[in-house]
């Protein structure tokens, strides 16, 4: 790559120069071609214009002559008529009469010819001679006019002498013959009155210093270059060159002196027209364009250079950065790998140690037991220790499986509706024996949050709290306490965040250990009275479980005083959701077949709905329409016959709270045990607390949901039966 770059570098300026030359040549060719087209176009336009102007000039001049001749003929006709009249009246027509006519009609002269083509008389006011007109008066044309009176002849002649002569010849009316009348005008006067051909150039300018010339073949009649007018063509060098080569198609290049000219020529009936331009004026005017093109190109090169240089630097930086990142990643990966290997090694070492220790213990106990085959006390002691060791090994293996499962992400929370109190009842039953065994007092407070039924993962919660409570028991001292509490941190209508606390009075943890307490196999020496201590996997498992439930876990600990672990977990509230929307608890309707349920509800329609729901679930229903009726119906029922009471709270005569208190106060065996469940449209916490204070067990909020009611009733009736059995 580097070699290629080096080979390419010298080529780039050359390429830039070549591109520049090519660009300039292209621009030059294009501009020259454009200029020549421009010249050709201008030249043609000019020549066409001059052709039209020359034709107009000819027409105008001709028209002026014709008008003069017509005017003269009119005079002649009048004089002819008047002479005929005078002759008829006997007046002798002589030169004196003709003089009068010329004076009166502002003519110059009149000649009267006889039938024999001989002059009879004449008057020539300009002092001229008859001989000047003799040829005209005696030629065949005049003879024809004499013979055919309809014919007339009129013309302008320009003989030498500085005058124009307009004349007309008409047939005489007084006798056979002809009459010639003429009018003389000074040459300069005619030409002044006539339009000069040079005037067509008046105000006419040509681009590119062009020159336009009109000649009659010999002399320059008109031109926009005033110096040429009046000169002979031969004396004008450039013009002579064009004239010599004759008319050609397209553009002609002619040189004259040291200059090159571009132009062309054309001709009309009477004129030759030339248009030509100095070559330098045509071609050099595009030099600024070439300069601009060159500057533009240089600017482009500069921009490309800067961009390329910047890009190259950026690429280099990027490459360096990429290499650095790659290197850092590689180093991080290597470090991670080393750490991982170290962790694995450490893990294996700890596993090896932790498994080997109880195995050695078991082997030792078995060996020692072998020495006391006849001593039951010793054997019982050693069997107990073997059991303890195997228990530890089982924990270790289970925890290892748990953490493996959690690490792999194969654990998916089984989200469903559950009763928090029921869950903790279960947890209590699982952990109490171990606590009692270790002489630790376990107190799992009844959860007094707003809601009992929540939506969450009871299986994960059970794993979590069994583990935390087991730890709290394990690392406690004999006679110590473990207290499990719960409080509502925040909540809304359908959500609640609960904070659980597991407090023990154990040895606590050092600050140093607290930094590593969630790392696998992290253990503090002498933390437990257990000969094998913990596996060091409990807290890491707890942290992973809490994370799965989108919660947090933390702790405070003081050595020799104890530890409190705080777990905060968000839940959805089941009753609101199921009641207002789906109506399903997720488990389906529990069966109440065979249960007798007393419903206290003052509204017929609500009673009917509850009755339907309960009968639909298989229950038999007793209906009380106020609190007093409910108390009375329970009091008169056979003890144990009513499995559960659903109590509306707001009722006439006696409300649900009072009715519950009265029932609990009855002197009968099932009065304290019969589950009383508040059935209310309120979701307020104070209602629940008031209901619990009145002796009720739980609350179900309206609307009546078959599955929710059936589930709660089933739960309490089953529990009641179990307690009754005990």
């Amino acid at each position: 790559m580097a070699d290629q770059t080096k080979r390419r570098l010298p080529f780039k300026p050359l390429l830039a120069v070549m591109c520049g030359v090519f660009l300039l040549l292209t621009v030059a060719l294009m501009t020259v071609n454009s200029d020549l087209l421009d010249v050709y176009h201008t030249m043609n336009m000019t020549m066409q214009y001059l052709e039209r102007q020359c034709a107009t000039y000819d027409d105008f001049t001709c028209s002026d002559t014709v008008k003069s001749l017509v005017w003269l003929t009119d005079k002649a006709n009048y004089i002819n008529y008047d002479i005929s009249d005078k002759a008829a009246n006997g007046v002798c027509i002589d030169s004196g009469v003709l003089m009068d006519y010329t004076d009166a009609q502002r003519l110059t002269g009149i000649i009267l010819m006889g039938a024999d083509s001989e002059p009879e008389c004449w008057y020539l006011g300009d002092g001229g001679e008859y001989d000047m007109w003799k040829e005209l008066c005696t030629d065949s044309k005049s003879a024809d006019i004499a013979r055919y009176p309809e014919k007339k002849l009129m013309a302008r002649i320009h003989p030498e002498g500085g005058f124009y002569y307009d004349y007309t010849i008409v047939s005489r009316e007084d006798r056979p013959g002809i009459m010639l009348c003429y009018f003389r005008q000074a040459e300069n006067l005619v030409e002044e009155n006539q339009l000069s051909i040079g005037s067509i150039f008046s105000g006419y300018g040509l681009a590119m210093d062009g020159v336009a010339v009109v000649t009659d073949g010999n002399n320059v009649l008109g031109s926009n270059d005033g110096e040429l007018v009046g000169n002979s063509v031969l004396s004008c060098g450039v013009l002579n060159s064009f004239a010599t080569n004759g008319v050609t198609e397209g553009i002609q290049w002619e040189s004259s002196g040291n200059r090159l000219w571009i132009g062309g020529q054309t001709s009309t009936k009477n004129y030759f027209i030339y248009v030509y331009f100095p070559a330098e004026a045509v071609l050099l005017r595009r030099v600024p364009v070439l300069i601009y093109a060159l500057l533009g190109y240089l600017l482009l090169l500069a921009v490309l250079f800067v961009v390329r240089r910047g890009g190259k630097n950026e690429r280099l930086e990027r490459r360096e950065y990429s290499a650095m990142v790659h290197q850092q990643r590689a180093m991080a990966s290597a470090r991670k790998s080393r750490r991982s290997n170290a962790k694995k090694t450490d893990f294996m070492r700890k596993m090896n140690h932790d498994i080997r220790t109880p195995i050695n213990g078991i082997r030792g106990m078995v060996e020692i037991a072998g020495h006391y085959p006849d001593d039951p006390e010793k054997l019982r002691e050693y069997l107990g220790k073997i059991w303890q060791s195997s228990d530890y090994m089982l924990d270790l293996v289970n925890n290892f499986a748990d953490i493996e499962e959690l690490e792999n992400g194969t654990v998916v929370p089984d989200v469903r509706t559950f009763s928090l109190n029921s869950l903790f009842d279960e947890i209590r039953s699982l952990t109490t024996p171990r606590a009692q065994e270790r002489g630790v007092k376990l107190d799992i407070a009844r959860i007094s949050g707003r809601y009992d039924l929540l939506i969450g993962s009871p299986a994960l919660l059970k794993r979590l709290f069994v583990s935390l409570i087991s730890n709290a028991v394990k690392f406690n001292r004999r006679g110590g306490n473990v207290v499990v509490g719960c409080r509502e941190v925040s909540g809304s209508n359908d959500r609640v965040v609960l904070e659980f606390s597991v407090m023990d009075t154990g040895k606590g943890m050092s600050l140093e250990f607290q930094k590593h307490m969630f790392e696998p196999f992290a253990q503090e020496d002498s933390a437990s009275d257990d000969p094998y201590g913990g596996t060091g996997l409990g807290l890491p498992i707890c942290r992973r479980i809490v994370a799965l439930m989108k919660g947090t876990i933390d702790c405070t600990s003081v050595q020799n005083e104890g530890t409190t672990v705080f777990v905060t977990i968000p839940f959805r509230i089941a009753q609101e959701r199921s009641g207002r929307n789906s109506g399903s608890s997720g488990k389906g309707a529990a069966s109440l077949r065979g249960h007798l349920v007393l419903v206290a509800e003052d509204n017929d329609l609500n009673m009917e709905v509850a009755d339907f729901a309960l009968r639909h679930a298989g229950a038999n229903v007793l209906k009380a329409y106020n609190g007093r009726e409910a108390v009375e119906m329970f009091r008169t029922s056979d003890p144990g016959s009513i499995d559960v009471i659903l109590m509306d709270l707001v009722m006439p005569e006696m409300d649900g709270f009072e009715a519950a208190r009265n029932i609990r106060a009855l002197d009968r065996s099932d009065a304290a045990a019969v589950p009383i469940i508040a059935l209310t449209a309120n979701v307020f916490r104070e209602d629940l607390e008031k209901a619990l204070a009145a002796g009720m067990n739980a609350r179900v909020t309206k609307p009546v949901d078959i599955s929710v009611i059936a589930e709660v009733v089933a739960k309490y009736t089953d529990k009641t039966k179990e307690e009754t059995k005990q």
Partner: protein, 116 residues
């Protein structure tokens, strides 16, 4: 008009109600019975006679019935009125009562239309 159309016309969540009670016939049976439910008339008379305790109880009952029968709109306003009366004082309740009356009328009109 079907009972579903009836609920949809009221602006109520029929699907939720069906999921809860499980039967269209049962829903229809209970819904029509609402026309004979005395809680609204008890509410009106209690308010008219200034019996705050009875007014609270009637509003509370009406709210419960609406919850059970899925009359969402009427439930919302009757619930608000219940809270207004919870202190057993009949003050500043007029607007809420008017809304309850309005929703009750709309609900019963639709039910009467359904019943034919």
């Amino acid at each position: 008009m079907t009972i579903r159309e009836c609920y949809e016309k009221m602006g109520s969540d029929y699907s939720g109600l069906l999921g809860r009670l499980g039967s269209e016939m049962i829903i229809a049976k209970f819904a029509v019975k609402f026309l004979d439910d005395p809680s609204f008339s008890q509410l009106e008379s209690a308010v008219a006679e200034g019996r705050a305790e009875d007014a609270f109880r009637a509003a509370h009952t009406l709210k419960g019935v609406c919850l059970n029968l899925g009359f969402d709109r009427l439930y919302e306003v009757s619930s608000a009125l219940t809270e207004k009366f919870r202190g057993r004082q009949l003050v500043d309740y007029e607007e809420l009562l008017r809304q309850v009356e309005e929703q009750y009328k709309m609900t019963t009109d639709i039910l009467k239309e359904y019943k034919g």
